[in-house]
Amino acid sequence: MLGASAGGVQALGTLLSLLPGDLQVPLVIVQHMHPAEGSGLAELFSHSCPLVVKEAEDKEEIRAGTVYFAPPGYHLLIEIAGTFALSVDEKVNYARPSVDVLFISGAHVWCSQLLAIVLTGANNDGAKGIQLIKKCGGTTIAQDPATAAFPAMPQAAINTGAIDKVLSLEEIGTFITKW
């Protein structure tokens, strides 16, 4: 699972193009966007990423080898059955979708199997979530703030002490590929 905010579209463009076409796991992404900017993210990246890239749908079964984006204006959560759930609950960290909401619900379902990554952003969304994921035995990565367009979000994650590795986008790409 991956969270990104300001600067994320460009960072994701780099990262997603590094992934192999036969990735054995699903990748679930929250990228903060203004709802009015529509649901164009999945389409935007489907050209540069060798995997199937789509917007996550309510009750959809989560499949390996697929990249899912949270729809703008909705929180994205993981159900025990391995399906997605959407909600229009209040914003969290001024954001909907919120990285924390995704990370926390994912931690309850996937526990130690989970790899959580915090990329560039100008807020601290995701910092709570990675603490829970770490506590559950999952693996946590932050983009190296020195390489991030907006260092605040990965830095906030690092400051919690719950981050296992601080990596560049290229290194994160390699890490996901081996996961």
């Binding site: 309510d58 009750k59 959560l77 759930a85 959407l86 909600s87 229009v88 609950d89 914003k91 309850h108």
Partner: protein, 267 residues
């Protein structure tokens, strides 16, 4: 397991059935309440729930927080105006059910739209929710001034013909929707999980409610909507909701796939 026990307790003690709500959101809300009142384990809330009626109210408030705006998803209202209103104009009397009206933002959005299309005087809108506190707020129709900028932008994008400020008055408490727009709205308690069919409607709107239900409950509720619609009646769902799990795809035709507007077929 703790969540199951808690939901069973609510059901057995009070009859409210949340067992078929989508679990991830439900659990999130229960955990939120739990940490707010200082419980370590979710099950600690069970004794409180069983012995203190006011705790149930607290839970219901937590379970039914919905955040909505006036004219949320403006393209949906544009679709209603362009594709549904012309058909509604052919009826001498129009019955509309807004299910899960929460604090009323969408009810008044619809009332204004009907007014601008010259249909309000012959319409009645049934606005229902299972949460009495939200219903009270909806009835009052008071919204904070700082939300009006968003509402007003949405209204314009939705094809609004005047200025949104024509429809409310400023008061000490906020922006109060004018009484004229309230007179044909009936607010009532209705629980989609346990209550039954609701008249013969020309339009049912239920947006962003089904995402909180599991597939079984979605199917039940969609059937309830079909049975509450007149032939040719319209159903409007949330932008990320659909008829997928309902077996209703044969009974309804798609009017607008993006706005999620459907129409009941004549047999």
């Amino acid at each position: 397991m703790e969540v199951n026990l808690l939901l069973d307790a609510i059901h057995q003690r009070y009859g409210y059935d949340f067992r078929n709500y989508a679990r991830a959101s439900m659990e999130r809300r229960i955990r939120q309440l739990c940490s707010r009142i200082g419980c370590q384990h979710l099950s600690e809330m069970i004794p409180q729930l069983l012995h203190d009626d006011s705790f149930l109210e607290k839970m219901i408030r937590e379970f039914s927080i919905t955040v909505t705006d006036m004219y949320r998803d403006p393209f949906v209202y544009r679709c209603l105006r362009q594709q549904v209103v012309p058909r509604l104009k052919t009826y001498p009397f129009i019955k509309i059910w807004l299910a899960g009206c929460a604090t009323g933002e969408e009810v008044y959005s619809l009332a204004i739209l009907l007014h601008e299309e010259g249909l309000y005087e012959r319409s009645i809108i049934y606005a229902t929710d299972f949460n009495d506190i939200a219903l009270e707020q909806a009835k009052e129709g008071i919204y904070q001034l700082d939300r009006m900028k968003t509402f007003s932008d949405n209204y314009k994008q939705a094809g609004g013909r005047a200025s949104l400020s024509d429809y409310y008055q400023l008061s000490g408490k906020g922006c109060v929707i004018k009484a004229d727009l309230k007179k044909n709205i009936t607010f009532a308690n209705h629980n989609l999980v346990t209550d039954s069919v609701f008249g013969e409607m020309q339009l049912i709107a239920c947006r962003n409610v089904l995402i909180y239900f599991d597939k079984t409950l979605q199917a039940r509720v969609l059937q309830l909507f079909r049975d509450s619609l007149a032939f040719d009646g319209f159903l409007c769902l949330g932008s990320k909701e659909s008829l997928r799990f309902s077996l209703l795809e044969n009974d309804m035709k798609v009017v607008d796939a993006k706005a999620k507007v459907y129409q009941k077929k004549v047999p």
